[in-house]
């Protein structure tokens, strides 16, 4: 380069353009979850299967004349949420890669860590909405139960219980998100996630036949460690077990996945 050109560099006047605000990135990432048929139907099917599970639960409860609590319906609503929310978490990340939109995304926001944070916050917001939808459906189910059953009806739901629901949904969404960043491929991430959520617990159960494993299992089995949260009754030790097992199954994949996204060449 000649010194002449270096002395008078042509520059872009960027003084009038602030960075893209984080809230706008979050809004865009949220929109991306809804604006394709796949994303929209996934959200609709999460709500629909939750409703379906509650209908079946109601039907069984009423037919068998069982006595259930509000929390029991909440537990029913958790089942489909915990299966499908991770898929949403996975797809929010991997669709950028499998559909190659990351190329466009990063040309509009080159900071990949900001992009990932916006993505993550948008999945958290969906988890929050899922809690509200789940809660609404649970209230509806309990109301139907109250109207049709002669058994006692409870309406007790503490803020801590709601917080626990939120925590559960965040865990499942975030684990999906972590597996998504780790594999950057929708099919692989979903398969690995379901191996993790359906096969690993069985192996953990088998492992308890070994004495030495029996003692460490509570500290490394994330699914098992979430049970006290489902019950909304968590002791100090159980929080610690949640933390250590979560470190292995949520934080570690997430850290490796984030590192991968920050470095990966976007094709």
């Amino acid at each position: 380069m000649t010194t002449q050109a270096a002395a008078a560099p042509m520059t872009l006047d960027v003084s009038q353009t602030p960075r893209v605000p984080f809230t706008r990135l979050v809004q865009v990432e949220l929109r991306k979850m809804f604006d394709t048929r796949a994303g929209r139907w996934l959200l609709i099917s999460i709500a629909a299967t939750t409703a379906l599970v509650l209908v079946i639960q109601l039907w069984v409860v009423l037919a068998q004349d069982m006595s259930v609590t509000f929390g029991d319906f909440g537990g029913g609503a958790n089942i489909p949420m915990n299966v499908l929310l991770p898929v949403l978490g996975i797809m929010s990340v991997t669709s950028e890669w499998s559909q190659r939109t990351a190329m466009v995304t990063f040309s509009l926001e080159p900071s990949r860590s900001r992009f990932l944070r916006a993505k993550f916050v948008s999945t958290l917001l969906v988890a929050l909405v899922a809690v509200l939808v789940g809660l609404g459906l649970t209230i509806l189910a309990n109301a139907v139960y109250a109207g049709l059953s002669d058994n006692p009806v409870t309406w007790e739901l503490s803020p801590f219980q709601i917080f626990c629901f939120f925590l559960l949904y965040v865990f499942s969404m975030a684990t999906g998100f972590a597996f998504g960043t780790l594999l950057l491929n929708t099919a692989a991430a979903i398969v690995i996630y379901f191996v993790y959520s359906f096969i690993v617990p069985g192996l953990m159960e088998l492992g308890t036949l070994l004495d030495w494993f029996k003692d460490i299992r509570p500290w490394i089995d994330f699914a098992n460690a979430q049970n006290p949260i489902i019950e909304a009754d968590v002791s100090g030790k159980e929080w610690a077990q949640l933390a250590t097992s979560g470190l292995i199954w949520l934080v570690l994949p997430l850290v490796i996945g984030v590192w991968r996204v920050l470095r990966a060449e976007v094709k």
């Binding site: 050109a5 042509m10 990135l25 394709t36 796949a38 559909q99």
Partner: protein
Amino acid sequence: MAAMIKVEGLTRDYGNFVAVDDISFTCKPGTVTGFLGPNGAGKTTTMRVMVGLTPATRGEVTIGGLHFHDIPNPGRHVGVLLDASAQHAGRTGREVLTLGARTMGLPMSRVEEMLALVALDDTESRRRVRNYSLGMRQRLGIAHALLGDPSVLILDEPANGLDPAGIRWMRGLLKGYADRGGTVLLSSHLLNEVEQIADEMLLIGRGKIVARGTKAELLAGAGGAGTLVVAEDNDRLVAALDERGISHTPVGLGFRVDAQPVDVGRLSVEKSIVLTDLRPVEGGLEDLFLELTSDTQRDDLAHLPAPTGAPL
């Protein structure tokens, strides 16, 4: 004028394979720079490094004095189209532009303006990208690149998939854009897409820039491509050419002569030879292009030994 895009000593390796090998060039405002080379020559890799999608092994790229990463809201300054097919197949064209406009903080009217600019009508804009032809995807990609009214455009193979009318339209669009002071870098593997619009051309082959300059400079540098000439009496023409020591080879009805048309014309007047056809060799630049990049071509045009070990 100073450079808007500045590439300095850029190298990118993949293990032993050097995709881009120490290239440097600049693009000035108000000009269109054509980046030409066969498939796999390193054009796309260079452009990807410019936008930060691929890290450089060595060297750097600045746009307006800044690294791409440091440009705030880069869509407002640098319009990028690297792969028209890199869009979610399930989104509509309009939605793709809406996401871009929202990210950049633009009014939604901008989406309509861009759709009109690239001539995607209302029905087409509401179809999913999956159902778009490659030409429509290119139009959408160009609309996306122009959305933020940037002062720099980086377009990888934008004419790919456009029909001849579309290519002409794009030429006009980019020419007008450069005339208003914009900086355009566009790549192509087809010379004729670029030669009419590019003020400056960069020829790249196997990761290296093999030639650069305006069309005229490139041709002059190659010593001209010669002249096709047909005379009423070819034998007399041959005699005259031999006398001057100008080499010639029979082509069709006449000859291909290694001299400029003006010299051959002068000769014919001096010797009173009636010419029935006199013109510069068509595709002179194309020959040059193929020659300069011949050892990087997949097809062995020059009957040279095939390149070995090029992991493409």
